[in-house]
């Protein structure tokens, strides 16, 4: 194309492209906007969304598996053994509870919502809920304590365990002299391993 031809072509091409663009924008002016007015209108959350953790403390057996699974160590569990004379009840899955739970803290600020703690739980007591609005002004408020034991109960449980342990120790001490020391077991030598390198 000659240069004067390019000149006219450029003018008409630019006008044409402007019209194309303006047609697209005016079309969007009259389409429904995609905005969701969030605090007043909320989007539906997927059924299996992973959000705030919740622990049903009545079902917890204190096995510590969730704390082990946690990749960011945001779960802290402390347990106190119960004495045989105490009955802590059963979980909804019919597992006998043997441990007191003076402390079950989840630091939700650390939580990465991976859901790894949910799968190992034998009683399905730790779950992820669909609650996602839990901002706080103080970081301390983001540490959730799920334990329902009072200070007195914790102290009482500790005392009982201490007493029980002492009793057991006393029984053991009484039983020890009667016991014969076990004869040393014949320690068989490990069978000689054939040399792999030569074989």
């Amino acid at each position: 194309m000659s240069s004067i031809g390019t000149y006219f072509y450029n003018i008409f091409h630019s006008l044409y492209t402007v019209v194309v663009g303006m047609r697209i924008t005016i079309k969007h002016l009259f389409t429904r906007s995609a905005t969701v007015q969030y605090p007043t209108v909320k989007m539906k959350i997927p059924e299996r969304a992973r959000n705030r953790l919740f622990v049903n403390i009545d079902d917890c057996i204190g096995c510590d598996q969730c704390a082990m699974a946690c990749p960011v160590d945001c779960i802290t569990i402390e347990t106190i053994k119960s004495t045989p004379d105490m009955d802590l009840g059963m979980t909804s899955k019919n597992t006998k509870k043997r441990l007191y739970l003076p402390r079950f803290d989840i630091d939700i600020a650390k939580c990465c919502y991976c859901g790894l703690c949910v799968w190992p739980c034998p009683t399905e007591c730790i779950v992820m809920t669909d609650v996602y609005e839990f901002a706080e002004y103080d970081r301390k408020d983001l540490i959730y304590s799920f334990s329902n034991m009072t200070e007195e109960e914790i102290a009482a449980a500790k005392v009982r365990l201490e007493q029980y342990n002492q009793e057991q120790a006393a029984k053991k001490a009484a039983a020890v002299p009667a016991k014969e020391p076990a004869p040393p077991a014949a320690n068989p030598l490990p069978p000689s391993v054939p040399d792999i390198g030569k074989a």
């Binding site: 697209i24 005016i26 002016l29 906007s33 995609a34 007015q37």
Partner: protein
């Protein structure tokens, strides 16, 4: 105007009142334009813009204005204090002065001078001085770039504007905008875009040239108010905020006000030169002094809407492209138009 004069019987009070009238208009108009711009911008991008302040956020421009008024007026230590302080006022004066010659209605015009169109073009260049001053006084490289770009751009685009004004003046035979508007009175067919109220043969021959002129004037006027695609003086992505980077609070608000008031001015110029100003498109129907104000502002608002629409469609031009458009496209085409219109008017 005589009515008010006899009512108050005081020349001074009347002058002050009448000159304050456009200011009230500017402030109200800017609020409306701000709201429209935000809403149109949002809806073009499939958003909804502000929804909380009042019904669909109608009070938001007022809230924004109050916020700007309360902000601290920061002047950089290394800035040229006097120029820095004066710049926004000069820019706004340039804008406001232009309102003196805009014929809002058949009975209202700030100053019915014979050089109206010429005065408008001249007043437009006062804004450039304000912007260049702001850019220089800020002592900031981005501001300076913005100011210099603005000067280059506005001077370049004054020429197409002035040439387009000349064509309108050639046909109507008057520089007074009130006369130009009266010339086009009496229905949509008499508007200068369609050749004006001339014998049909002449009119038909004039029409292509007036349409081109009208279009070029519109493009040049967008460039003169520094709006996208010609917003190089501000160019957020390159120059932070261009000439008003260092401004805050009330002084920034002055620039803002000046920009939006200018938007109306250029639209009003296009309207009163080529689209019959305050005259009704239906001839005698719905015409009169009060209807005149309605037609004038609604026509100008239509153009503001189109400018907003363009703003949210087109990307910014490069500096050399900007100059190319002005000097190699708009100006030569207008020379052709001037020649052709002159020839047609002579025969």
């Amino acid at each position: 105007m005589e009515f008010i004069q006899t009512l108050l019987a005081n020349q001074l009070v009347v002058s002050i009142l009448l000159s304050a009238l456009p200011l009230v208009f500017i402030i109200l108009m800017v609020l409306v334009v701000l709201y429209t711009e935000m809403k149109v911008a949002a809806h073009i991008q499939d958003r909804v813009a502000y929804m909380r302040t009042g019904w669909h956020g109608v009070l938001q421009p007022i809230a924004d204005m109050l916020k700007l008024l309360q902000k601290e007026d920061i002047i950089p230590t290394k800035a040229d204090k006097l120029l820095f302080r004066a710049a926004p006022f000069i820019a706004f004066t340039g804008t406001y002065v232009a309102y003196a010659v805009l014929p809002f209605s058949s009975i209202y015009i700030g100053s019915n001078i014979n050089l109206g169109a010429f005065f408008l073009v001249a007043a437009g260049s006062l804004v450039v001085i304000g912007i260049l001053m702001a850019g220089w006084a800020s002592n900031n490289k981005w501001s300076l770039f913005g100011g210099v770009r603005s000067a280059a751009q506005m001077i370049s685009y004054e020429i197409p504007t002035a040439l387009a004004v000349i064509i309108a003046v050639m046909i109507t035979g008057s520089l007074n905008l009130q006369e130009v508007t009266k010339f086009q009175d009496g229905g949509i067919g008499n508007w200068l875009v369609f050749g004006g109220p001339l014998p049909w043969m002449q009119k038909l021959m004039l029409m292509p040239f007036t349409v081109i002129t009208f279009f070029i004037l519109f493009v040049a006027s967008i460039a003169e108010v520094n709006r996208t695609p010609f917003d190089l003086p501000e160019a957020e992505s390159e120059l932070v905020q261009g000439f008003n980077t260092e401004y805050s609070g009330m002084r920034f608000a002055m620039f803002y006000l000046s920009e939006y008031a200018n938007l109306f001015t250029v639209s009003a110029v296009v309207v009163s030169l080529f689209l019959g100003g305050w005259s009704s498109p239906f001839g005698a129907f719905m015409s009169g002094p009060v209807w005149g104000v309605f037609w004038f502002t609604s026509k100008a608002f239509l153009f503001i809407l189109i400018q907003i629409w363009i703003r949210w469609t087109l990307p910014r031009l490069r500096v050399d492209q900007l100059m190319y458009v002005s000097w190699k496209v708009l100006t030569p085409w207008l020379f052709v138009c001037i020649f052709a219109v002159g020839l047609i008017l002579v025969i």
